[in-house]
Symmetry: C2
Subunit: 309 residues, 2 copies
């Protein structure tokens, strides 16, 4: 195989109760990444379309993660990468994760798969580090493993897949405002009340249990964030209103996607997800605020191969 084209999907991190821990892989929004073997060693980003991003391999996350992989693995060729961004950077649905994970997934296939997808997470995290200054694994784990994913300990490379109840569907609305990750991080405090920790972790544990027992009501009751959301939601236009119309339209729960500004609703069934999306749109239409809405089932596979040569 000399060339591979993959679809590397968007993802939602945190999922209200699992800050820095939970992630889920989406289905029909993502980046298309083509990687080709070259005689000349090293990594080159030949082209980026869809969004204005650097082709410098030390600045583009796909190059950063690819370099991390190739620093550990000796190969006798180089790679050129073409990226078509389907995800807007800074939207809060794992734009950097899709590119970071997509390039290492593709290169791994081209060199005979010396790594499992789980092992690729550590390389993809270098891309996350370059994008946001922190080596978080929640988005890249979701993209590389598919489904709902859990980061137990990224230093120990301890990640795993959870069960995916078949009817889960997501609505994501992306209000087109600029929300810098820096600002979104700045509002998070470094200490929490023990009683809030107990409430939050009880919700996380109950959410996990609900995924395994496919108890949609329990999943809904547990999709709460008493720690980060109250601080971050003030940065998102009409967050409380978006949340209340989502719940009233049948969503199991609603929260901030990653560090925002996108807001997700988790629903039972695609029809509900579409209704929730329509209700969300009305809120931003009234404000004359531009937005994108995505409806997605859970992508239980992760990155998909589109073409090989």
């Amino acid at each position: 195989m000399n060339e591979i084209k993959v679809f590397s999907p968007a993802s939602i991190a945190n999922l209200s109760c699992g800050y820095d821990i939970l992630g889920v892989c989406l289905d029909n929004i993502g980046d298309e990444i083509t990687v080709r073997k070259t005689k000349k060693k090293g990594v080159v980003i030949k082209k980026v379309s869809g969004q204005k991003l650097s082709t410098d391999i030390s600045l583009n996350v796909a190059g950063v993660s690819a370099t991390a992989l190739l620093n550990e693995t000796k190969v006798n060729c180089g790679f050129e990468i073409e990226i078509h961004k389907g995800i807007k950077p800074g939207s809060g649905i794992g734009s950097s994760a899709a590119s970071s994970a997509g390039s290492v997934f593709a290169i791994n296939k081209l060199i005979g798969e010396p790594y499992t997808n789980k092992e690729l997470i550590k390389f993809a995290m270098y891309g996350e580090m370059a994008a946001s200054g922190s080596k978080h694994a929640d988005n890249v784990a979701a993209v590389l493993l598919g489904g709902f994913t859990f980061v137990r300990n990224s230093i120990e490379n301890d990640y795993f897949k959870l069960n995916t109840p078949i009817e889960i569907a997501f609505t994501v609305i992306h209000p087109k405002i600029e929300l810098k990750t820096k600002d979104s991080r700045a509002v998070v405090k470094d200490k929490v009340l023990l009683k809030n920790m107990i409430e939050q972790s009880a919700n996380l544990g109950a959410f996990i249990s609900g995924l395994y027992t496919e108890d949609y009501d329990l999943i809904g009751r547990s999709l709460k964030d008493v720690i980060i959301e109250p601080l971050r939601s003030v940065l998102i236009p009409k967050f409380e209103k978006i949340k209340s119309v989502s719940i009233n339209s049948g969503a199991l729960g609603c929260g901030i996607s990653g560090s925002g500004p996108s807001v997700f609703a988790m629903c039972k069934g695609v029809t509900t997800a579409i209704n929730v999306g329509n209700a969300m749109k009305k809120i931003y239409d009234k404000l004359d605020l531009d937005y994108d809405v995505h409806i997605s089932c859970v992508n239980d596979i992760g990155i998909k191969i589109l073409k090989t040569n």
Copy 2:
């Protein structure tokens, strides 16, 4: 039915990663509680054996929980209770929970079961309140539901049972020192670092996942407490040594049972649990410290009926 005798078991709360959330029901240690209908209304505690405890219904937790139940349920008779304590109060394995839950379980049976076992938790919590000053549900939920149990929210009466991997066995060592719940609570701080919260709740979520997937290694890796144990363990003689010999003898994990002073080890298989118990004993033998050791499988049923009349 005019009389019922039940076996109300010991339990372990917290289980390292689930402070105020997780519990597990033990098998072969507990209180025996006999409840008899009487013509005269009200609750009387006729006898307590095994331990020196009050027979005043406002001081004995079995009377407190029974009174709470009867305040909500009108019945045309009274009840007399006999308690044989098999669990030492203050040992950290749910002595008050066994008595609180046992009396309401027995009365509920005698009056035709108007409540589910889950609904009885709220009455049993009054006993816990009387014993420790806090209405915690982790032990009583384990006793009334059996198996591994989860307290999502005790104000919303949201409790449920988790899966029990069949090979799990527990070792519990109770060093006979006086550790007042008050002192054990006093060392707990009301704020925690966000990074510790993330680590702790990641372990809780991973533990829950491990129970469902019956992944004993994951269960072992997740049985950690970075928040409460470092503060409380200093009150328990040779805690670190007990823990290290347990792990070296094959335990999956080891931690403080409830608020202590008992220490539990979670093992795969009864043989390992026995070996761990023997290793623990040696530590306290060297100190000339008196102790009890219990080996128990998980009791997946909870309270058991011994006799009815």
